[in-house]
């Protein structure tokens, strides 16, 4: 690094009324050193400057040699003149050198300076003008040459070269001063202590750069979306269900939901069965010391203030009958129902198994209730960009008397509006445990089309009445995956980039806060 040019520049400026040119004031200083000094001075408004880009002509080493000592042909001419009686051709290289002899002889002939007389060379004139040398001397003096033909010719002969030169036109700035005060990089405790902050000049802050990277932890993006959903449920008066139970029985996961035992969802292709432990027990009361036993904050309704004891055996029998021979006004599926099938252990395929468990508990004291859960479910699916063997199910349940289908639609409008989806429509669908069943479609502004965003319905009497819930209690249920709306909202095309060990930690750490109603 060349020496600091700030002082020389300030000195030169103060000695001059007008602007100065760096090429004149500091002809031998590299332009980079000048520029860095100028930038420092300019950022403090002490100077102003313009950059001048100029192309100059300079001599090559060979051109320099010719400018000093004359061209090849001039040297040949002088040698010939010097030999008063003509110069033997064979002697020429010995006198002027091989290169000069070869190039200079031809050029001297062309210019008519010498002629050949048998094997000797003789001058045809007394004096010559060495044009090449003259041209090169002009270049050396002015760094320019007006005659473009000559430039081309000399360039071809590699006697001159074109070069870019940067120089600066420098003038005083509004805060010009002779002295450049030394700057502090930062305000320090020491400066506060010794009072030097009063006179110290702080290096200007670069407002175009980012600040220092702040070390930070992060919550997982999918869990941030989950928290938004939980907040929506809490805002709407929902109690969270105990979904901390991955292993379920065929009974709770399927039979109690009126899913027939030959239903394709129960295939090995779709459901993970458990090999160890081997078999479940029929439904029964949870252990009294189970810390996750439901403790509803809900005050008991005035309708029924005492809890009925739940009859698990009766529930089991009711479920069997409603499948096998029909009950509660249903003709049932009319097939031989297998207890063994019901006691097979599975990884829950939906959290609706837990909703069923909670609704059965509600039968002890049927009253209006709202429940939700968001937790992992398992499907024995082939893994691809949109399917994993695990994903999160968001589920909501509302139990009340006199609920209508229009109420479910009205509720969905409020629920989905809270996450920024304002246009909904509903398609009749089939689901073994809801009737009516409605697929919920939301209009996606970005995609410009209707997108399926969830499933909903009213639970079938064949599911509710075996529990002991009263006939006039209706229960809405709806569900959606947590991953799908997240993928749509945030443009994630592969579910493996969102859930599982292949998720990029940089994605976790840089994902912005989730605001479903705005995003």
């Amino acid at each position: 690094m060349a020496s600091d040019m700030t002082t020389p520049i300030l000195d030169a400026l103060s000695a001059s009324e007008a602007a100065i040119l760096s090429s004149e004031a500091f002809p031998s200083t590299p332009s980079l050193s000048i520029k860095s000094a100028l930038d420092r001075l300019a950022s403090r408004s002490m100077v102003e400057y313009e950059t001048i880009d100029k192309e100059v002509v300079v001599l090559t080493d060979e051109g320099e040699e010719i400018a000093t000592n004359g061209s090849h042909e001039a040297k040949v001419f002088e040698a010939v003149v010097a030999a008063l009686d003509g110069l033997k051709i064979g002697d020429l290289p010995g006198i002027v050198g091989k290169d000069n002899a070869k190039i200079g002889q031809g050029n001297a002939f062309k210019r008519g300076w010498i002629k050949k007389d048998k094997d000797v060379l003789r001058a045809t004139t007394h004096s010559i003008v060495d044009e090449t040398r003259e041209l090169l001397l002009t270049v050396k003096r002015t760094q320019a040459l007006d005659d473009q033909k000559a430039v081309t010719d000399l360039k071809r002969r590699k006697l001159i070269a074109l070069q870019k030169v940067i120089s600066f036109k420098i003038s005083k700035g509004p805060k010009f001063a002779r002295e450049f005060v030394k700057e502090e990089t930062d305000l320090t405790a020491e400066m506060l202590a010794n009072g030097s902050w009063k006179t110290a000049q702080l290096k200007p802050y670069n407002f175009k750069a980012k600040g220092a990277l702040t070390p930070s932890g992060a919550l997982h993006p999918l869990n941030k979306v989950r928290q938004e959903f939980r907040n929506i449920f809490f805002e709407m008066g929902f109690e969270e269900m105990p979904t901390n139970r991955f292993v379920e029985t065929g009974f709770w996961n399927f039979d109690a939901l009126f899913v027939p035992q030959q239903h394709p969802a129960r295939d090995l292709q779709d459901t993970f069965y458990i090999s160890d432990p081997a078999k479940a027990d029929p439904p029964r009361e949870d252990p009294l010391d189970d810390p996750h036993r439901l403790k509803s904050a809900q005050p008991a309704s005035s309708k029924a203030t005492t809890e009925k004891a739940l009859d698990y055996k009766g529930y089991w029998d009711n479920v069997r009958q409603v499948h096998e021979s029909g009950k509660y006004g249903s003709i049932g599926y009319r097939y031989p129902w297998s207890a063994d099938e019901s006691l097979r252990l599975v990884l829950r395929t939906h959290t609706t198994s837990v909703s069923t468990y909670v609704l059965h508990k509600l039968a002890a004291n049927p009253r209006p209730a709202r429940y939700f859960s968001i937790d992992r479910v398992f499907r024995n699916e082939a893994v691809d960009a949109t399917h994993l063997a695990e994903f999160h199910q968001v589920e909501g349940v509302i139990a009340d008397f006199g609920l209508t289908l229009g109420g479910l639609i009205g509720f969905m409008e409020v629920f989905f509006a809270k996450m920024g989806i304002h246009q909904l429509r509903f398609k009749p669908a089939y689901n073994p445990y809801t009737e009516p069943s409605m697929e919920i479609f939301g209009y996606h502004e970005g995609l410009g089309k209707w997108v399926e965003i969830g499933n909903s319905g009213m639970f079938r009497p064949e599911m509710l009445e075996p529990m002991g819930l009263p006939k006039d209690m209706r229960v809405y249920g709806w569900g959606l995956s947590l991953e799908r709306p997240t993928m749509i909202k945030y443009g994630v095309s592969n579910i493996r980039e969102l859930l599982g060990h292949k998720v990029d930690l940089n994605f976790v750490e840089t994902n912005p806060a989730v605001r479903l109603e705005k995003d």
């Binding site: 919550l219 805002e235 394709p264 458990i274 027990d281 930690l505 976790v508």
Partner: protein, 600 residues
């Protein structure tokens, strides 16, 4: 959901008008089926030098077996649009009054006990009808019949065979016939070998293969009609020239057997010389009391409550308005003569999906239009929101860990047996992990009993990330627990892992200290001593641990004392280099994992 491809031009001809793709999509949406694809503008395959005509691919709800073919879709949409009324299907006995008879032998109870069937007389096939006839059987086999296990259908040219027919169960060697589209006669055993590698039939062989007897249907001349549920005989095969069709159906499930029979005959009886007529057959099955005449096409007669329908739909319709709406959904309904709150409903034979009055109620809502129903926010009953306690506790730790500079990860809950045990230098005692019976890959063999495999796999997949990597997870693991109904239980764990150029042992130790402090649990040994004498009910300390998961001398158990009760809730330490090697990790890793449930 099954997807049915129908000829677009033919369907619109049946529906009496052209639809744009959007219009037809809308119609499907309102009815509750789904237009999956209109192939008009797609590259369509060229078959026999002719490009396949444009098709509509329509998804049908899994319980609408009456819409699994062109005929059913056209019929139901026409009724919905009010262009047609539900056909009056008639059973017509042959002119000589003698029904075809199928005699069931008792041995069939050993393999496939039930049989049914029917005859379609004076039938007229064309290419499209023939293809639809075959396709419907295929769809029924795949869906309702669960890949032919529960029900299977055989159809025959009745003029090539002669009743009475017998349904028998015989040893495979004793059954000899030429299977459909073959030239070689073979017995049951040879047939199994012959079709073993067959792409189409191979997957059905297991249904009867190992049985000592195979089900078989013979005509009166001992011609094999079919070997259910595998294949028909070649002798009686249907051609485009077939006039009289004999349908036989065998099953394990009586209910589904009759559903399949009703669907088959109703869908195609429109192509008989007198449309919508079906010739019943006589089943003689004395041994199990199943002697009867089939099919029974009479509607199921039931009643539905007007108040229930109105209340669920949020409507105030008169009984006759409800009855009119139900017509659009193929029902025949009229206000009951006995009660103003009841309607008498005939559920057509084809609507096997209607089980309860809630199904009738739904059809009223569909006919009315889901999107036309009066919308209202449901009455707010005073419910109280509350989080699940263990989730609330987890959230406290999640936020504390993130505030301490750690990043949350969300690996999978299922993992391989090795990842959960061997790779962590842990032994499977057989009483710990829940194991899966039917995973498709080795990645999913057990439900994790520790959060460590997921954390370590996450680091393995993130080696491009700057070190140190500091990650955590708060989530459930599961254990076998034979004392419980479901023989297993979840347990909420907290775990974190450090990956960097140095071990990070003190760093995870520091994180443990931090989360314990946030849980108002005081450290009770070490230099700090008992810092806060006010905290007396919850304390923790650590004790050196000898565990092959960890580097010797650099691991500790985490002990807590809550309300005077001591628990070992987890451990932390530098992972053993052999663990790192298994997880392909090049830098040292320290981890902490503990059970959160004691803090509930």
């Amino acid at each position: 959901m099954p997807t049915i491809a129908v000829d677009k031009a033919a369907l619109f001809k049946e529906l009496g008008r052209e639809y744009t793709t959007e219009e037809f999509d809308e119609l499907c949406f309102e009815f509750g089926i789904e237009l999956d694809e209109d192939t008009t503008n797609s590259d369509r395959p060229i078959v026999n030098g002719q490009q396949e005509p444009p098709q509509l691919k329509i998804e049908i709800p899994a319980n609408r077996y009456d819409m699994l073919c062109f005929e059913g879709i056209a019929l139901n949409l026409n009724i919905f649009l009010g262009r047609k009324s539900y056909p009056n299907y008639k059973l017509v006995e042959p002119s000589n009054g003698e029904l075809q008879t199928l005699i069931v032998k008792e041995d069939t109870t050993k393999i496939r006990p039930y049989v049914s069937g029917a005859v379609l007389r004076n039938f007229k096939f064309d290419q499209a009808r023939y293809e639809s006839f075959i396709a419907l059987q295929d769809k029924l086999h795949q869906n309702l019949a669960r890949q032919r296990t529960l029900v299977s259908i055989g159809t025959h040219d009745l003029d090539t065979i002669k009743g009475p027919f017998t349904y028998e169960a015989l040893p495979p060697k004793d059954i000899r016939f030429v299977p459909l589209n073959q030239t070689q006669e073979m017995n049951g055993e040879e047939l199994m070998a012959f079709y073993d590698k067959d792409r189409h039939l191979g997957k059905y062989l297991h249904i009867i293969r190992d049985s000592p007897v195979y089900p078989v249907i013979y005509d009166s001349n001992r011609v094999v009609c079919s070997l259910p549920p595998i294949i028909n005989g070649d002798h009686s095969k249907i051609t485009l020239d077939t006039k009289n069709i004999f349908i036989e159906i065998t099953a394990l499930d009586k209910t589904k057997l009759e559903i399949v029979n009703k669907i088959m005959v109703t869908m195609f009886s429109q192509y008989t010389s007198e449309p919508f007529t079906i010739e019943p057959i006589r089943i003689v099955s004395e041994h199990n009391g199943e002697t009867r005449t089939v099919p029974d096409l009479s509607p199921r007669v039931t009643q539905a409550e007007v108040s229930y329908i109105n209340q669920c739909c949020g409507l105030n319709l008169s009984p006759s308005e409800i009855c009119n709406l139900l017509k659009k959904m193929s029902y025949n309904a009229k206000p009951s003569a006995t009660s103003a709150d009841l309607i008498d409903v005939d559920i057509p034979a084809t609507r096997a999906d209607v089980l309860h009055q809630c199904d009738i109620m739904e059809d009223v809502a569909i006919a009315y239009g889901f999107n036309s129903l009066p919308r209202a926010f449901p009455n707010i009953s005073g419910t109280v929101a509350q989080p699940l306690p263990i989730n609330k506790l987890s959230d406290i730790l999640r936020v504390e860990a993130a505030m301490a500079g750690w990043s949350e990860v969300l690996p999978l809950i299922l993992c391989s047996h090795d990842e959960n045990f061997g790779w962590l230098n842990r032994k499977d005692d057989g009483n710990t992990a829940v194991k899966l019976a039917n995973p498709k890959t080795l990645e999913f063999q057990v439900v994790r009993t520790s959060l460590l495999p997921g954390l370590l796999k996450t680091i393995r997949e993130n080696k491009h990330h700057a070190v140190p990597i500091k990650i955590f997870e708060v989530s459930d693991v599961a254990f076998k627990d034979l004392s419980l109904e479901r023989k297993s239980r979840n347990e909420r764990h907290f775990a974190a892992a450090w990956y960097g150029k140095s071990s990070g042992f003190e760093v995870v130790h520091g994180l443990l200290d931090r989360v314990m402090a946030m849980l108002k649990t005081a450290f009770i040994t070490g230099e700090e001593g008992l810092e806060n004498p006010a905290v007396t009910d919850s304390q923790y300390w650590i004790e050196e641990l000898d565990d092959p998961t960890y580097f010797p001398g650099h691991a500790a158990n985490i002990h807590v004392r809550i309300n005077g009760k001591d628990h070992v809730i987890g451990s932390f330490g530098i992972l053993h280099p052999t663990v790192l090697e298994k997880y392909e990790l090049k830098y040292p890793v320290s981890t902490v994992e503990f059970n959160l449930e004691v803090f509930l």
